[in-house]
């Protein structure tokens, strides 16, 4: 009781925030809830009612869905394709974003590249699709996970760099300038001083790209055409048929597909929360 009274005033002030949070959360959660209960239903139960709870906890959809999507192999493919690409994306675009942000004002080429990167984001993938296919075929990169990693990385660089450019500006110049004057090389200065300060935005870029690359369909469907090399995401599209779809199994397969990225995201939480600690910013 005493503790309750001691905290009540502070808690009361937070009440609107908490209520707001819970309301928005409900809106965000409802479709997920629908997807989950649907994934446990038989086709007939889905036909009867979308809202009703499944009569039994029928895990058949999950078992079948995993079997049909060749789960272990596809999961491995997804992991192999996603994580090395994201590592490269974060590193390369942090470097690129850093140099554009710091030197773009005095260097026309760098400024121009900022525009090129932004502009390339406007190009629909379909325009370059046939050319990509031809080039990858010439170089024997079709149906190869290495080829897929190269394509995904290259295709994502522009977005990630654009993101970094803005955020590097909010990292104070003083520290690296001090380091440079002290005789520290530009590369060392970047990796030892600047990059650690970019951690929150790097974590964001990583989280976003893990999500996107994991869920990529456009590129994978063109470059990876052999069954044994397909990613988990591509597999889930095959559960939606031309004239007939088994929704229960399709939903189950899709939910299995997103569990690994969700785990990754929760694990990343720590880095996403942590801002630049105040001491490091101002001298």
């Amino acid at each position: 009781m005493i503790r309750y009274r001691r905290y009540s005033k502070r808690q009361l002030r937070k009440l609107p925030v908490v209520i707001g949070l819970l309301l928005v959360t409900a809106v965000f959660l409802f479709p997920i809830y629908l997807a989950v209960i649907t994934s446990f239903k038989t086709p007939l139960e889905i036909a009867d009612s979308i809202m009703a709870l499944p009569k039994t906890l029928n895990i058949g959809n999950y078992v079948e869905g995993m079997k049909k999507s060749n789960f272990a192999r596809s999961l491995l493919n997804s992991v192999i394709v996603t994580f090395p690409s994201v590592a490269m994306i974060v590193l390369f675009s942090a470097m690129g974003g850093y140099t554009i942000a710091r030197n773009g004002k005095n260097n026309r080429f760098l400024k121009f590249m900022d525009k090129v990167y932004l502009s390339s984001l406007m190009i629909p993938f379909q325009i370059i699709m046939i050319a990509v296919y031809k080039i990858f075929k010439e170089l024997n990169l079709l149906n190869s996970l290495a080829g897929m990693i190269i394509m995904l990385t290259g295709y994502s660089i522009a977005y990630a760099t654009f993101l970094f450019v803005g955020f590097v500006k909010s990292v104070p110049v003083d520290m690296e300038e001090a380091a440079l004057i002290d005789g520290c090389g530009p590369y060392r200065a970047f990796f030892i001083i600047v990059f650690p300060l970019l951690k929150p935005i790097a974590a964001t870029v990583a989280a976003l790209h893990v999500m996107w690359l994991w869920n990529d369909f456009n590129i994978a469907v063109i470059l990876l055409q052999k069954d044994e090399i397909r990613t988990l995401t591509v597999k889930q599209y095959y559960f939606f048929g031309e004239h007939v779809s088994d929704y229960g199994m399709a939903f189950a397969a899709s939910i299995i597909c997103m569990i690994p990225v969700l785990i990754f995201f929760v694990a990343m939480q720590r880095y996403l929360v942590e801002g630049i600690s105040s001491g490091a910013v101002k001298t």
């Binding site: 479709p31 649907t38 390369f92 406007m122 999500m211």
Partner: protein, 289 residues
């Protein structure tokens, strides 16, 4: 002196060295294929024959005469206006909400807001089809919004917002986290109200987040494709057909690859202009600490 010059030289080259790895990858997967495909726009290629003829600017001229292009263009703009506003208001709102320190609740809620991002667009389209068809019809006694030419675009925007807001929320959130605590504290000591603190401190320092989120959400809504294709295929009666769907149809479904490439290029130029305009507007507002 000697050491100093060496260092400056090193710094000069390092400007490009930093850019190089990313640029190489980018050139290989985007620039080179793009330059390889541009010439198609000047041909009468139908997408499957082995040879084609160059027709000069004929395709580009036809674009301006194409009556069927007007509706998709208007639809894409509707998508962009609704989507951009909705996306940024909700994303910034949720980011501010999540940033409030409510202990464990914020952590859980952040994960929940981000969860829909994991859903593929096809799955999102199916779930929301259920919601519009079964849930809304029971709650509000209305027919599915996806079958209504006037409401179909807002309906698709809503499902798109659910699916993608988490991305911008994350970017706004890391922007907010980047704001030095001292500045906020200092403003507090100076007696600024919550609203003043938001306007004078938080908002200007969020400029980098704005330039990214507004520019990119706007152009990605202008390019809206996958979600609409899964949800309505551009229907009913073409009421939700976007430019990207129209371009795709010309490139792959109709035998007009050359023409499709020409529309796509002109549309890309339009997007580049708009995107750069918006981006430079916000980039100017970015403050350096």
């Amino acid at each position: 002196m000697k050491r100093n010059r060496k260092m400056i030289n090193g710094k000069k080259t390092s400007q490009y060295v930093f850019l190089l790895p990313g640029l190489l990858m980018f050139s290989f997967s985007v620039l080179i294929p793009l330059f390889n495909g541009i010439h198609i726009a000047f041909t009468d290629w139908n997408g499957i024959t082995t040879d084609y003829n160059y027709v000069g600017f004929k395709n580009f001229i036809s674009v301006f005469r194409d009556q069927r292009l007007i509706d998709p263009m208007i639809n894409s703009i509707k998508f962009a206006v609704l989507g951009t506003i909705g996306n940024n208001v909700i994303a910034l709102g949720t980011a501010l909400l999540v940033n409030q320190k409510t202990g464990k609740l914020s952590n859980i809620v952040r994960v929940i807001f981000f969860m829909p991002v994991c859903f593929s667009s096809i799955l999102t389209a199916f779930i929301w089809n259920f919601i519009y068809k079964e849930v809304f019809s029971q709650l509000f006694q209305i027919k599915s919004l996806l079958g209504n030419p006037e409401w179909v675009i807002p309906a698709i925007v809503i499902m798109g917002l659910w699916n993608t807001c988490g991305i911008n929320m994350l970017i706004y959130l890391s922007g907010i986290k980047n704001i030095p605590v001292e500045l906020v504290e200092a403003a507090k000591i100076d007696g600024a109200t919550v609203f003043q603190r938001f306007r004078k401190v938080t908002l200007p320092l969020l400029a980098p987040a704005f330039s990214v989120c507004v520019t990119l959400s706007m152009t990605s809504w202008l390019r809206e494709f996958a979600m609409t294709l899964s949800a309505t295929r551009g229907g009913p009666g073409g009421a939700s057909k976007t430019m990207s769907i129209y371009i795709f149809e010309n490139l792959y479904t109709y035998n007009k690859a050359g023409y499709g490439q020409a529309i796509a290029l002109l549309f890309a130029v339009f997007l580049i202009l708009i995107g750069n305009l918006v981006a430079s507007f916000f980039r100017r507002k970015e403050v350096e600490l």
